[in-house]
Amino acid sequence: MNGKNTSAPRKALNFLSNNAVPVMFIIIIAICLPMSGFSTTFLLNEIMTRLSRNAFLILSLLIPIMAGMGLNFGMTLGAMAAEIALILTSDWQIWGIPGIVLAMIMSIPISILLGLLCGKILNAAKGREMITSYIISFFMNGVYQLVVLYMMGSIIPIVHTTIKLPRGYGVRASVDLTRIRKALDNVLSINIGGVIVPVVTLLIIALMCLIIVWFRRTKLGQDMRAVGQDMEVARAAGIDVEGTRIISIVISTVLAGIGMVIYLQNMGDMATYSSHSQIGMFCIAALLVGGASVDKASIGNVFLGVILFHTMFILAPKAGAVIAGNEVIGEYFRVFVSYGVITVALVMYETKKRRAKAGMGAQLAAAQREGDKR
């Protein structure tokens, strides 16, 4: 269909329809930017902070997409694992970079466990992985509360009263992470014309990108793509479909856990019972804004997405104040846009899938007719 004959305007139109979401965002930003009155340095600084804060988390979404399991709403599980690890390292008073490294390492076994569980459940719900992973994140949130609010301090020892609730068990609503705050970001950070660049954090993100590129070429990566394309064909080719799917979720959960530690060290403060609850939604929205779809996402989408989505996030309240005289409107607007983007992406994916199926049906029917004629 995309033959040489397609004219330039049609090509442009095709490009537009394939990249509708990023283009829409660029337009929103272009409108909001002059209204906000932010200085370039301020904006660049904010974007740099948010890029280093969020990129790793969003990278964790790529692998399940590769395995055909859609957007992993279950990445929240990794975030919970990271939070449990951080509560413990804070209580043990492990500071600075060692504290961050220890929290990352400690989050891994918890993430693996949760990932295995999530993968197992998703295997029982093939074809509706997304809604299931979405509900799993709610379900696990309950379990997380059980552990953090009732078991910590009573079964799992918590010593410090700054973390423990006065009643003797449970963790306070907010855990102070000042001791590891920006410990990673500040190593070798450089200042370029007023913009502070957290070199080491960016290097870690770059390394992760390289690992993902390499992973795609390994046997396991190839298997995952095969499973993502067609489970039955993959099974016929001797691939352990269920196992591969579980591994992809486990990897995603582990990466989300590490990403959450990076995220929280930047924030320097942790809302024990709500930090993780919306992280999945924002990461998924950012990835989709970068032009990804439910079945296809690249590293480029991650970075474009973070930049566009978070620029909108910074600008919206100010723009809301200018347009409607109310900053709250801007805040609601950005939440609306986040949900809207996910909705549009899901709808586009489903219609595409249906069209492809219908196309295949037509082809089959045509082949049948051909066969009948002979």
């Binding site: 459940i121 029982a124 719900a125 093939k126 074809g127 509706r128 997304m130 809604i131 299931t132 979405y134 509900i135 799993i136 709610f138 379900f139 949130n141 309950g142 379990v143 509360q145 059980l146 609010l149 009732y150 409607a324 109310n326 709250v328 409107i329 609601y332 607007f333 939440v335 609306f336 986040s338 949900y339 809207g340 996910i342 909705t343 899901l346 709808v347 994916y349 489903e350 219609t351 899938k353 249906r354």
Partner: protein, 358 residues
């Protein structure tokens, strides 16, 4: 047919086991748990009849919202995670009815009347969308619901509501997050024909209203269109072959669900006594979904009985556990329990292989 013949040969115990299997393990656990709660409750100092009253009360608030699941499940659109779409229509009806100066029982009737065109409109758009994306309904419904709610978060601020009972001051900076409706339709159903026997209070009007709607839905499901809806839900290809316009039937079911949700939120408000705007509708779909699943419905099969049993079990659990847990061990883990049980129930339904039809 052969199964029918075998029926007589089966022993009673076998049949009981069959029935229990049909009922499902999670449901049994929840029912047993609730029974235990009722038995234990008096020992914790909670009055038995007060407890019963609470359960009946909360049942009367929520039952219509749960009923709103039924049409969409029947037509194969899955569990209606997009319940907030209808709720928003109901909230529009509520706020406009108050804004236009209706009071007392009339404001309730007017709220329903005003909500109806919105529900139809939203339902048509929502149904059109769901017809485009057959197979992916539940996830998209969730996010359509969220998008609509967050869009209306802006609208509640912007729309020119003036009534001081619900708007913020005179600057006209939009509606309050929550406002009481005693002057309007608060308790309008619950207090109608209310029966009080000692500590037991029965909100007869609200129960009758639910019964009326439930009866209407039951009757509808037995009409020609209703059976067509069930046919579409159980096998769309077969239904199409039988000459049923699948898309139209699905659309009808979505409109019905949306309207029921709109009425449902109004019934909820009249019991609760407050209107909640902004972020409140976000969290309203999951309890309704898990309630109907607890009642024995599956992703593509739901009856009025499921609605009634499910709402009683779910609301019973919600109201009983805090009192009993607090009285018993002075440890209120009821909220956590509620989250785990209700979402666990949804997960259970989503992962049952036998229920995968598409």
């Amino acid at each position: 047919m052969s199964e029918y013949v075998n029926e007589s040969n089966r022993t009673l115990s076998k049949r009981v086991i069959e029935a229990l299997k049909e009922f499902g393990l999670p449901r049994m656990i929840i029912a047993a748990f609730l029974l235990l709660m009722f038995i234990v409750a008096p020992f914790t100092g909670a009055n038995f009849w007060t407890q019963i009253t609470n359960v009946i009360n909360r049942f009367s608030w929520n039952a219509v919202l749960v009923l709103a699941m039924v049409p969409m499940v029947h037509s194969g659109c899955g569990l209606n995670f997009g319940l907030p779409v209808g709720i928003i229509a109901g909230l529009l009806g509520a706020t406009l009815s108050i804004e236009w100066g209706f009071t007392g029982p009339l404001s309730f009737v007017m709220a329903i009347l005003i909500a109806t065109p919105f529900a139809l409109l939203f339902g048509l758009a929502y149904g059109w969308l769901l017809n485009k994306i057959k197979g992916g309904e539940m996830m998209i419904a969730t996010y359509v619901g969220f998008s609509v709610v967050s869009f209306f978060c802006m609208m509640w601020l912007v729309l020119p509501y003036r009534k001081p009972d619900m708007a913020w001051g005179f600057e006209g900076t939009g509606l309050r997050t929550t406002f009481p409706i005693d002057k309007y339709y608060g308790g309008v159903l619950s207090n109608f024909l209310r029966i009080e026997i000692g500590r037991l209070v029965i909100p007869t009007g609200a129960l009758l209203f639910f019964a009326l709607l439930a009866l209407a839905i039951w009757a509808f499901l037995h009409t020609k269109t209703g059976t067509a809806m069930t046919a579409v839900g159980s096998n769309a290809t077969f239904a199409r072959a039988a000459g049923i316009n699948v898309d139209k039937i699905r659309m009808l079911s979505v409109v019905m669900s949306t309207w029921l949700a709109a009425v449902g939120i109004l019934v909820y408000e009249q019991g609760f006594g407050f209107v909640q705007l902004y972020n409140a509708p976000f969290n309203m779909a999951l309890p309704a979904v898990s309630a109907i699943l607890i009642g024995g419905a599956t992703a593509n099969k739901a009856s009025i009985t499921n609605v009634i049993i499910g709402t009683i079990l779910f609301q019973g659990m919600v109201t009983m556990t805090p009192t009993v847990m607090n009285g018993l061990i002075n440890l209120d883990i009821s909220e956590v329990l509620r989250v785990v049980v209700s979402n666990g129930m949804i997960l259970y339904a989503l992962t049952r292989k036998s229920e995968v039809t598409r």
